[in-house]
Every structure is written in C-alpha cells, then in structure tokens.
C-alpha cells in the first residue's frame, strides 16, 4: 500500500471511515464522530473516581517509610490512641501473597516487619477512618522502628541487575577499523513524572461474596484484577474491576494502580465498608512511578561522507527500588537505541539496576525517548564534525525498505522514515532557516555566543536556532508480547437488537471510546451512534490486554474490525440478500444475541526469539520527524521553544482530530522533557515533589505545534494502523536540543537542557567546548 501524507484541514483526508455524512457534525470534526464522552466532560457531568459517592465509605491513607533503605523492626501505634475507632492494616493482614503481581514478585504491598524498606516513600501500613480529620491527627502517631541500611543511589554502582540485554549484528571492531571518524558521547536523562492532572484514585467496595469491587482511575483493569486475585486470594468472580472516567495516564496508570487498588481493598475488607484512597498531588509525585533515568554511551564509526559503519551503544537504566516493568522498558530502550538508521556493525548493550529510589515504570515512549535522545544527539554531533547537514546525514543512513535492524529484522513494508524526514524538512524550510541562523551566529561578536565575558551582555539579546530529529517506534508489544497476551475483543449484536463493542481497553483521553465504535460502525455499515462501547468492567468484558504500548487502535482495534466482519458475515448469511444494516435488528429478534469473541492471532510472518533477541522485534514501526525552532535568551539562557513541526507516520489515520491531539500532546510532553521537567534528588528523595516545584509547560510555554500525519499502512493489521500515542514523545526532545545547539553553539548532553546547564556550557573556558568533548579521530 502506498504512503500518503494527510494535511489536516484539507480535503485530501480520506473519509472512508465516515458513515453518516448526513449527521450534524459541524466545525473541524466535520466528517468524523465527535468525542463520545465529550459532552459529559464538558458539562462536568462525567464522573471521575473522586466524584463518586459511596454512602458510609471511609477514607484511607498510606503510612510510608521516610528512609531510603532500612530494616523494618516494628510498627508501633501510639498506645495513647484509641485505635478501635479506625482500621490499621499491615502486611500481617494480607490474606494471600504479599506481592504486587507484575513481572517479578519483588514488590510487596506493604513492607512486613522484619522486611527491608527499599525507598523513602515505601508503603508500610494503611489507615482508614470515617473522616479525614481523624486521619490527619493519627497519621503521625504510628512509629516505625527501623535499623538503617546503606542505600545505593547510583545505578552504575548497584550490583542488583533487574535485566540486561545484548544485541549485535556484523563485526563492530572491523567497523570501527574501517571508520574515518569515531565519535564518543555520553548522554544522561533524569526522571520524568507523567503528571496526569487527575491524581491516582481508587475506591474499594467489599462484596457480599467476600470479594471486592474496585472503582478507579486506571489504564489496565485486568492488571488490577490479576493483582487482587493473588494478594487477596479471590476468585475471578470475587475480584471485579471497573474503570471510571480517567483523567490522563501516560503510563503512570499502567502498573501503579494495582498497588493502590490492593491497599484500598485491604482496608475495605478489614473495615467491611467501602474505602476511598485518593492521592493528593504531593503524595502522587513523591510515591508513584516515573520515567527511568538513563545513561547512554555511544561510540560511533562513520565514513567521511557520513555513513554509519559501526555503533557500540551502552544503556544503563535506573530501575528504582523494585522491578515493576523495568525489563520491558529497558528492552524497548535498547532495541531503539541505534535510531532509525542502517548500520552494518552494531552492538547494543543494556542493563537496568536497582537503586533505593521509588520504583520507575511505564511512561509514554517506554524507554525509547531516553535512548533516542542519545542517538539523535550523537548523530547531530557527528554531522557537525563532518560538516554535513543534519538532514543529509539522515538521508544517507535512514532505513529504507528491506534494510535490516540490529535484531536481524528485515523491514519488508511500511517504512516511512524518508517520507517523514522530507515532509518535516519541507514544511519547516529547514535548510533555509539553518542558513539564516548560521549567518546570525557568525555575525555575533566573539565566540558567536557570549561576546564579552561571562558577566556581561552582548549586542544580541536572543539567538534563534533550528533543530532536526528523527525517530522510530516499534508498534505494539515488543517481541512475542502480543502472542503471550492472546487478547480477546468482542462485538455483539444483543438480543434486543443493539450493537456493542466489548474490550478492556480504557479511555483516558486518547479517544478509545470514539474510535472503536467508529471502526466497528464502518465495518458494519451502520451509523456510529448506533454502536455502543461497553464499560471497562471485568465482569462484562474479556481481557483484550492493557491500554499501553500504542497498541489500542492497532492491535485491539484490529480485533474489533475482524469481529465486526465476522458478525456481519454471520448475520448476512442468515439473511441472504439483505445487507447487515437492514438485517441486524430483525436477525436479533429471530435468532437472539450473536457475539463474536475475536482472539489475537500472530501477525503473518512475524517471528521473534525471546531468548536470542533475534528476529522481528515489532511487527511494524511508526516513523516520526520533528523540527523545532527555539529562541534562547543570551543573557539568561532561557529557552523558548517557538515552533515544532511534527510529522508522524501512524500507518492509518482513523480520526484525524484525535490523532493530531495525540501528536500535539506527546510533542509538548517531549518539549517539557527537553527543557523544564526535572527531578532533583537528595538521599533518594525527590526534591521536586509538588506542582510548585515539578514544572510542566503552561500554554505560554508551549510551542506552536503543527502536526502532519503520514500513512504507510501495515498490512498485518486489517486497517493498516500502527499506533500513535508514543511516537511523538520519542522525537521532539532531541530536536529541541539540536535547536539549542544551533542557537548557541553548545551541546547539552543531559536532559533537561536547563538554562543553568546552557549557561554553564556557554561560560566554559573554550566557549562551548562540550561539542568536542569525547571526540577522537580514528
């Protein structure tokens, strides 16, 4: 299938998925369904977890460690307090395994007495009371007796390895020997907080069968379901999980909600009443997962004309205190570490280790933003050294059809790297702007940056720069993930003639509730408003896998399309000559309900070996390019990102407005990652643990983002879609750092590129000599 570019707002956008042109859909949404739950969100009627009322519910809080590492000797409630009026739960109250079930069984719900506290915000006990004033008064009356143990904060010093991988192709030593230039670089990125605006929130309601019903803010109801069954010894029926309206996730509500649901449930079972656990922002930032900090070291060999001949890349990730999803995050990070470039001799190594900081976990991009920032900055530095345009060096190396990746995967289709690159270059007038910024820099006196000493100002107040980056993002789960998941999605014609889509995939703002019915309606040939989307309730829907990894539209959406096709075929077979949309109501009356449960079947020809890490790491890849322009204040090194051109190949655009929304939002998160989002640590504790100190961009900080969508369909998916959620997160940060370099002449090797780091680099004796650091000619 050919690659196409969609320019939003023009008539080139195909309307194949539009069913009812007669429906009133004014404005920009014209032709596409409006966000299904939009009116409820816009009138305040939508119920998020904290909006729900459960009569008689108590409030629950968490008693946490305040030490980074210690042995827990005793939990001593103040004997002067009457504890009979409240419920205090400790590890001793856990009926099943004291484990938050995930990849490894290392993380307890609550540290048991005699156990080891591994980070400063670790849950040790839980307290529930009828009102919050009581909790406030009693919170400080529980003493933890501990014996301090030596903590580890440096991931490179830790001897506890959560996971490690090595992938190689060709002969790296021979590659370096043949190189005209060998460049080394070390890149670092810190923690990033997902900062969904709705804090983590969970309400547990005890059932009459001894079970628990969870109402909460989450991405993955079945993750929680599994965790409940194991720790609370519940049957599949006794554990029921219902997703409520969810105010953003970005990965932060992938695995952490299991912990909170378990805590609320433990209190609810003991208190025999509903218990609400709604985090306040401070606790949410201090205790929940972040993007993994990483150190990425590159050694790259290139020819004079800029062709990559050897890449040796080492990735070290800080997993924090527990494993969570770290092995999978590391895996994705390592697999993307070389960037979207052909290189015959590659060695990629990665390890993730344990430190005594709160556990790190899923966050949009899932390891790739860390390593792709390093890869792109490295390539941009190489281009500078060789005096080749950043655009040209990419043209010479970028993956094309039938190229081979480091895992030995041959890219047989859906490769749009060149397409997104050229689109971004064209739309941003990249080379022309770069010529102008170079002229401006040359005209500045002295070093071209700060002309007259480090405490003085120059003639120019600001400098403009433009930067380019390219990225790829493996679509869906890594390796055999989808095969193991064996997701099931359903489409049902009910006995009373309604059409329903049933999946466990959640709406958290990205548009699941809108596009799933849209795709199914298109397949069935009915109006979109006639297709219902069932609640994300484990009592009602089967496990269609987690709402993560940009897999929702690609994988689960694909299943709904296949299910719809089968439903259509069945109904039409029973009603020969009558099209589905005319037949289905009568068919339901005559034959009762028809439900198709469509299970995932491996994409044809996709083979991956989890042991050797060879083969098709992903069924397909999404491709993205970004061009950022920045203005740097030459007195203060403050950076304003002015514009970002974001070009993303998503395979197939199902809903342009929602798709653009993903690109724009992901781009801004990446701009924040590049510029202001920072967590400083002191003895394993986050110093930026409030919204006043952990900063995300406001509307005034946000650049103009122009999104250009490209379609290079993937034939394995019935609609060709490859996912969009994470792709934009991978690419904008290195583009911003390249733009800062273009404006100032200094390379920032560590995110975020704060004014403090830029000014320090500018004030360095060699005037931005960072660019030459670590360089060695072969």
């Amino acid at each position: 299938m050919p690659t196409r570019t969609l320019t939003p707002g023009t008539e080139t956008v195909e309307r194949a998925l539009v069913i009812d042109p007669g429906q009133r859909v004014p404005g920009r949404a014209s032709g596409f369904p409006l966000r299904r739950e939009g009116p409820a969100k816009l009138t305040g009627a939508a119920k998020y977890t904290d909006d729900l009322v459960f009569p008689g519910a108590w409030y629950g809080i968490t008693i946490r460690s305040t030490e980074a590492r210690a042995k827990l000797l005793a939990i001593e409630p103040d004997p002067d307090v009457d504890w009979s009026k409240v419920v205090l739960a400790t590890a001793a109250d856990i009926p099943g395994d004291n484990v938050v079930s995930l990849i490894k069984d290392d993380q307890p719900l609550l540290v048991p007495v005699g156990g080891e506290i591994r980070h400063h915000a670790e849950p040790v006990a839980l307290l529930a009371a009828p009102d919050r004033e009581t909790l406030r008064q009693l919170k400080g009356r529980i003493k933890l007796v501990t014996e301090a143990l030596p903590p580890v904060f440096d991931p490179e010093e830790s001897d506890h390895v959560f996971a490690q991988y090595e992938v190689s192709q060709g002969d790296v030593a021979a590659g370096f020997a043949a190189a005209d230039l060998v460049l080394e670089g070390e890149y670092r990125v810190g923690h990033q907080e997902q900062l969904y605006i709705e804090n983590q929130a969970m309400i547990a309601v005890p059932g009459e069968d001894g079970g628990i019903v969870i109402h909460g803010s989450m991405q993955c109801p079945y993750y929680i379901h599994k965790a409940l069954k194991r720790a609370l010894r519940l049957s599949s029926v006794q554990a029921r999980v219902i997703q409520e309206e969810t105010g953003g996730g970005f990965g932060g509500k992938e695995e952490y909600p299991s912990m909170l649901a378990l805590h609320a449930s433990l209190l609810a079972l003991k208190a025999r009443r509903p218990v609400r656990m709604i985090y306040e922002r401070h606790e949410d930032i201090a205790a929940t997962t972040k993007r993994h900090p990483a150190i990425v070291r590159h050694r790259t060999g290139v020819t004079k004309d800029g062709r990559l001949v050897a890449q040796d890349i080492e990735v070290v990730m800080d997993g924090g205190a527990y494993c969570t999803l770290t092995p999978v995050v590391l895996s994705r990070g390592v697999l993307h570490a070389g960037g979207p470039y052909r290189c015959p001799n590659v060695r990629l190594r990665g390890r993730a280790t344990r430190t005594n900081t709160p556990p790190n976990g899923a966050f949009r991009g899932f390891g790739a933003p860390q390593t792709e920032f390093a890869a792109e900055t490295q390539l941009n530095r190489i281009a500078e050294r060789l005096a080749i345009s950043p655009a040209d060096i990419r043209r010479r190396n970028v993956y094309r059809l039938n190229d081979t990746t480091p895992t030995g995967q041959v890219l047989r289709e859906s490769v749009a790297a060149e397409e997104v690159l050229e689109q971004a270059l064209g739309a941003s007038l990249y080379e022309r702007v770069r010529e102008r910024t170079a002229r401006d820099a040359a005209q500045r006196r002295g070093s071209g940056t700060i002309p007259a000493g480090t405490l003085r100002t120059g003639d120019d107040r600001t400098a403009t720069g433009i930067g380019l980056a390219l990225a790829w993002h493996g679509a869906g789960f890594t390796g055999s993930g989808e095969v193991h998941l064996a997701s099931v999605a359903s489409v049902e014609l009910t006995a009373d003639g309604r059409l329903r889509v049933l999946t466990a995939n959640t709406e958290m703002g990205q548009g699941t509730k809108t596009v799933f019915p849209q795709m199914v309606a298109a397949e069935l040939g009915v109006r979109v408003d006639l297709v219902e989307y069932a609640a994300q309730d484990t009592a009602e829907v089967l496990d269609s896998g987690p709402t993560v990894a940009s897999r929702t539209v690609m994988v689960v959406g694909g299943l709904t399309i296949l299910a719809a096709r089968k439903l259509k075929a069945e109904v039409e077979a029973r009603n020969p000559g009558v099209p589905f949309q005319e037949a289905y109501r009568d068919d339901a009356q005559a034959h009762g309900a028809t439900r198709i449960d469509q299970q995932f079947e491996p994409y044809p020809g996709v083979v991956f070996d989890d042991e050797t890490y060879l083969g098709d790491a992903y069924p397909a890849y999404g491709w993205a390019a970004a061009v950022a322009t920045v203005e740097v204040d030459l007195d203060t090194a403050e950076v304003q990102v002015r514009d970002v051109i974001a070009v993303d190949d998503v395979g197939k655009v199902i809903h342009p407005i929602l798709c653009e929304g993903q690109v724009e939002g992901g781009t801004l998160q990446a701009v924040g990652y590049a510029t202001i989002e920072e967590i400083k640590l002191q003895e394993g504790r986050y110093l930026n643990d409030r919204l006043a100190t952990y900063l995300i961009p406001t509307a005034l900080d946000a650049p103009h983002i122009r999104s250009i969508l490209v379609e290079a369909p993937y034939s394995g998916a019935p609609h060709g879609a490859k996912g969009v959620g994470e792709l934009p997160m991978d690419v904008a940060a290195p583009a911003v750092v390249a733009a800062i370099h273009d404006a100032t002449g200094v390379w920032i090797h560590e995110l975020p590129a704060t004014p403090e780091k830029i000014l320090a680099a500018l004030r360095a004796p060699d005037g931005g000599g960072a660019r030459r650091k670590g360089a060695a000619a072969a």
Binding site: L455, T457, K680, L700, D701, P755, L759, A760, R763
Partner: protein, 284 residues
Amino acid sequence: MPAEPPIDSPRRLFEAYELLAAGSTRPIAGGTDVMVAITGELGPIPERMLDLSRLEELRGISLEQGALLLGARATYTEIRRSTVCREHLPALVEAAATIGAAQIQNRGTIGGNLANASPAGDTLPVLLAADAVILVGGQRGEREIPVADFFLDYRKTALAPDELILQVQVPLPRGRSLRFRKVGTRRAQAISKVVMALAWQDLGSAGWKDVRVALGSVAATPIRARATEAVLEGAGPTPEVADRAAETLAGELQPIDDVRSTAEYRRAVSARILHRLLRDAGGW
C-alpha cells in the same frame, strides 16, 4: 483536604486589632499563600485565622501628595489595571503580571506578598528599589516601616504578631527611573530564580543618584545590593561602569543551590541582567 481552623471575619479594623491582640491568629487575605500552608504538610497548622476580606480600609489604590498609596488588599489584577500604577510605577505592574496567572493575580495581594516575605516574592524588589514605606497598625497604634527594614530573616518580618499591614506607600520622586526583570522557571505560574529591580535618578553630567539595586531569590530575604549601588551612585551607565557593577554584584551575592536553580546560575545571571539593564539605560 486541608485543616479548617476557626476563622473570624471582622468588618472593622478595631475588631481585627482586638482579635490579633487576643493571641495567635493568622491573617488571610487572598489566601494564595496561606491556603497552601494549612494542609499541615508545610509546617504547623495555624490555631486561628483572621479573615481580612471584609476590611474595606485595606482596599484601594490612589495617588496622594506625590506618593502612590496601595491598600494592603490591592490585588495583582487591580495593580495591573490601575491607571495610576501604570503611569507612576509601571515596574510594579510588570512585576504583578509575572505572578502566577489570572487565578492568582485575581486573589493575591500586595500586603500578602509582603507578609509572606518569601525571598522570591516578585513585587518585593520593586518596593525595595522604590523606597516604599509600609504602614502597619494594631491596638498599640500605627507605625511606618521602611521596606528596607522590613525583612529580617528567612520569612521573618518586622511586623509584630498583633499588627496588620494596612498600606504600602511608594514615594514618587520626580525623574526616578525604575526597571524590573524576572528570570523565572517558566513563562507563567513561575517562581523566580532571580528577580531584580533597579532604580535611579539621572542628574545628567553629575551621574546617577539614589541608585537602588534590589533582588529576590538570591538570599534568605529580598535584598538590596549595597556594594553594587555604591559603584553606580554618582556614576553613569557607561560600559565600564556596567562591567564594574556586574562584577561587584557577582561578588556581593551569596545565593544558594535549591530545587529551582543553582548558586552559580543565580550569581551569573544577576550580573548579566544588571548589565543588560544598565546597557539599555545607557543606550549602547
């Protein structure tokens, strides 16, 4: 959900004074600082609160006898919209516009900015540079405190526990220039990394007099950089003087590393923005 200490809402000043004299009570006006403090996470919860929102005496912005009078309850939005402020003290308008965003500007007050005494309070360097005087009152009577004497230590002020800030009086000497520059953490809802106000009167060939260099976020309190002022006093904004002033300022300041910035950055950037202000003043 934060604590809900008891609160009194007097309508008259003498009632407020009585309540203050009766013991530990914490005044609240716009609440933008106090409401954050009552969660108990950032320090002890006040025993009792004193609501200033019904005290009409604390409102209003006016021009009287060559001075700008700002009621303690003047909000940042009122300052931004005030024609007398815009005309006579535009630097204060500029400072008010950098605080928070609309929600904070609609509620936060100049009296609160003073009483909270954050080293990062954005209006405070302007008031220092403008030689403002703070009128405070209580049962023991009223008194005037020059703003230069107001900030004693980190979040400690010369205001007695039984006193209220009533008014800020800003003298408006003829020919005074006043400039403001804030370097914040982002472009809105930003706390300053460095905030500076520079004031002077230009006597032509006799150079500058009454030079004030005031800064926030570089010490435990908002401060005046007296050594730097001395360099500028009697001099003019020439390149040589600007260089010397910038170096003096960098030597004079003792900022710290914290969650928002670094000592090194604060010192360098303070010098550089002073240099820029002098450069602009000198027109070179």
